[in-house]
Amino acid sequence: MPKTSNVSIASLPLDVIFNSSGYAICAVDSKGRIIYINKSFQNAVKRENLIGQDFDSIFSFEEKDKILKIGDICKSSGTFEREETSFLFDDQRIPMRFSATRSDNGEIKYFIILINLISLKQKESLKLDFVSIVAHELRAYLTSIRGYLSLLREEADKNAFPEQAKTFLERASTSTDSLQTLVENLLTISVFERGSIQLKTQFIEWPSFVEKVADEFAIRAEEKNLKLIFNQPKEKIPKVVVDPFRITEVLSNLLTNAIDFTKPGGGVEVNIKTGNDGVITEVKDTGIGIPGEAIPNLFTRYFKVGSRLAEGSKGTGLGLHISKTIVEMHGGKIWVDSEVDKGSTFSFSLPISKK
């Protein structure tokens, strides 16, 4: 048990701990009578004189179509947990997580812990609404900024703008494109997290599909003096069932990263093979690599490797999180092997279609 200074947490009054937990907590004795409630519980149920009352006569829990009785739960041993039940009280049905823990300490038989799921879900939903609204607003302005920049670039070419002015324009355009990618990623994430995405899958001849995407990136690689090669697989690759639009996002993300994090003169290779996990696609670069300690967090939301890698790099780290989500929606896995200063290999698997 971690301690702070010399005071053991066990010496704090239980009431202080319970009231600061944020959970609604109530304790009943072996007969199912309420012997303790904390502030959150009191606030949640708003009823006076609960102490000493029979729990089941005031509240009930509903699990699917079954009513759970505290009296019955008291008879079971150990911890009783349910991810989703409903709490019925005053004709209200409140979805919540429920957990009761046995305690054989004297008269106290159980602590009952309630977490109001509605408020958690509402908070999450509000956050997603916010992200989505902001991203939509940003994009409206971006459409206009990108449009006018492209018109200005045309003018610059036609009317022989000074070289420096052209450079400034190019830089403004590049940053705007990056901002566009960021906004698109934010929108994609807000849609994913709502769970409102359904894959539109079809059978795909995988190698030629990947080759086409890789070809589009070869031009970008060349601009940075990098060689991007698609290696024809040596074995026959079975067809895969994918959502072409979504899986292209994964390939684009991996290829963009490979190009962004590899210095001029380096190379990016795309390989396809079969393995235990199905069809495996590899994007291998000779880039700056990723430190070992950063790898476990690489695919989590908003994670970006620290300053060392950030030099000369762009993006928010949303891309890999999105890629992981998409690959997993397809039933596959994504992983990375990397060595600092040698390069990284990002791989993902797609299950082989049984048909």
Partner: protein, 130 residues
Amino acid sequence: MIENRTILIIEDDFFISDMYRLLFMKKGYDVIVAGDGEEGLSKARSTKVDIILLDIMMPKMNGIDVLKALRNDKSSTKDTPVFLLTNLGQENIIKEAFKIGAQGYLMKANLLPQQVVTQVEDYFAEQAKK
């Protein structure tokens, strides 16, 4: 000489509509703009236009209602080609618009203004083949 094509741009974001207006004018189109749905509908009815670019989210009257009005009309606008100006996340609206009788849609955020012009030109080129 072939008569200029007339395009009506119904879009409440002035920067966007003016960007398209400039490019279509350069391509030799006669361009009419409207800043909201109501104005758009009345301009579509009072002038003969060859194509309409129609934004969805607009004050006074939204794009879908404008489209319905254009299509229900027994007047000349019934067969005027309509391209929606859309944003991502409006897939359901696009589906509905196709049912009502839109000819296509242009995803604003994904298209540079030059590409918008190209798509409209391509549409006319294809129609000419038919």
